[in-house]
Symmetry: C2
Subunit: 340 residues, 2 copies
DNA sequence: TTGTAAGCGTTATCAA
DNA sequence: TTGATAACGCTTACAA
């Protein structure tokens, strides 16, 4: 990190005060639109501000006010997958809508390496943000720990297992998975498998648990394969493996729509018809779902709302509200289309 | 924006100095690993740091050092589309790799509203970042202007028309478009259309210009439709319109792979075979390209490298290097598959 | 309504 | 090698 002090020095309140002939205190009051300033003073200050091209140094202001006006949105994903996850975009959107409305700047911090984690922790400690929203935290996430330790207002989107006492906003992955798997059973499928993913996250674990619950004694562990990522390739590989293990497989729960898309392409190549030979369901109701042929039955996540509520939760803590110890689970909705 | 000062007061250098019996100056030296400190002093300070649980207040440090150790990555997109663009992820990845290596924190600022723009401009002025990388700037982008005015080290990814004098890293959209369109001509297509998009950006404009150049006098303006976004829906709508205008159309250049995917689905529904009846090419070489049936011929963008170079450019300016007035265009590569 | 002055938590300068 | 002390640019009592 190097320094470049060749930039022209920026005007400060001192300059404005000098030029306008008004004291720094009053200049500050004018700048902040506070009452108890005469029109004369205000005008003189405003003229001086224009004259010297003054812009506020927020870093200095932060130092004294002890706040930054920024809130971190921490995304914990291998970078290239940030864009693959259809939910993150909508969560971002919901969060930003609320934060923007409250005049907070949302700053997104993306991290996938240990080095990134340490730097982000340092950044959070540095007073750059007044609060944090943490997406897709993993088990034992160091950033989650750092945030908890710092004690700044925070919320999780999702519900990391063994998480520190930070409130969360999530969906009931288990119930949703149970419900959509039940459909497979009800339509007479008897050899039902699952391509699971992301078992290091609550969402991955809970979807698997729901699948198992729905099948009850019909559950066959050898018909479950799992991979690290919610990705198209996961679905493709997983489906090939499942077909190998049980050529007569007739039902598949894919841990996400992207996974389902990969699985469907493999099924087609293997000469299986959907939903004729194999019924398949996904999770997310992302753009993948409607681009599949046939279109995918899946679970709709209220991603935008998740982002909104997490932001509201942080804002509430910022306003001195309590930090709830538990969390909130939002409703999901099963969308029935043609794949099962 | 509210304040919550009920947090426990954090220990400062004063506390460390008091507890260790060492002056603030020396404490600061120890903390920054500077030379000229005795082992005795160092140990005393380190013990005191642990005892009082001291962590540095970066805001205060920034005030005096005039730097933040953070660099903004500004993404100018309608939020939900951030995730649709296959390049952004890789650009992020490349940028972060370089910045992380140099120990800078990358903070991503996403904006789509005017309100967002103003807040981000304010944020940039606030001294929160030492430099900025601007993605997908539009014509007359207010943030680009703000950055230029601020005079902080900066670079564009892409080459906005009429951009302020900020260096850019981009690709030669025009040549690439010309090259891939030529393929359509060379394979004997005679009624060639284009589904253009994002004409408010350099990429959109240049791809259209390349298309026009490649066709020469064969160019037929009525076979060009254009839409605001590089999106699947753009391709679907655009293809329907093109078929309406010219049912015998036999070649299509889609402004991006997502657009091409939408167009291909419409072609299929309309009973046209690809590449038999219609040859089609895209742009990006994103995951869309290999999920199409048949797989898409397209242009590969060095997105990761774009991000890398933009970051290097900013770092170089930060180190006092010159701010070049022009830009750099990276090579693209045409990937021939089965769609044309 | 305004000016003065004391911080905010660091780093940096300069004697000692 | 160390300790005072003056910045950094701003807000905020408090006094006038």
């Amino acid at each position: 990190m190097a320094r470049d002090r060749s930039l022209p020095r920026r005007a400060t309140i001192h300059d404005v005060a000098a030029v306008s002939g008004i004291s720094r205190g009053t200049v500050s009051r004018v700048l902040n639109g506070e009452p108890y300033v005469s029109d004369r003073a205000r005008e003189a200050v405003e003229a001086a501000v224009r004259e010297v091209g003054y812009v506020r140094n927020t870093a200095a202001r932060n130092l004294v006010t002890q706040r930054s006006g920024a809130i971190a949105l921490i995304v914990h994903e291998p970078h290239s997958l940030v864009l693959e996850d259809p939910n993150i975009g909508n969560i971002l959107l919901g969060t930003n809508a609320v934060l923007s409305e409250a005049d907070y700047q949302m700053v997104t911090l993306i991290l996938d390496s240990v080095r990134d984690s340490e730097r982000v922790a340092e950044y959070l400690r540095g007073g750059f943000v007044d609060g944090a929203i943490i997406l897709s935290a993993r088990v034992g996430d160091p950033i989650a720990l750092a945030v908890a330790e710092l004690g700044i207002p925070a919320a999780f989107v999702g519900h990391p297992p063994n998480a520190p006492e930070i409130p969360f906003i999530g969906i009931d992955n288990l119930s949703a998975a149970r419900e959509i798997t039940t459909r497979l059973v009800d339509t007479g499928r008897t050899k039902i498998g699952m391509v699971a993913a992301a078992l290091d996250r609550d969402s991955g674990q809970d979807r698997l648990a729901g699948f198992i619950e729905a099948l009850g004694k019909q559950f066959n562990p050898s018909l479950v394969v799992d991979y690290p990522l919610y990705a198209y390739d996961t679905g493709a590989e997983g489906m090939r493996e499942l077909l190998r293990r049980e050529p007569a497989i007739d039902g598949v729960f894919a841990a996400s729509d992207a996974v389902a898309a990969g699985a469907m392409d493999v099924l087609r190549d293997a000469g299986r018809s959907v939903p004729g030979d194999v019924g398949i369901v996904g999770f997310d109701d992302s753009s993948w779902a409607i681009r599949c042929h046939p279109m995918l039955s899946t679970v709709r996540q209220p991603a935008y709302e998740l982002g909104r509520q997490a932001a509201l939760q942080v804002l509430n803590q910022l306003r001195g509200g309590p930090r709830p110890s538990g969390g909130t689970l939002l409703q999901t909705e099963v969308v029935w289309r043609d794949s099962a």
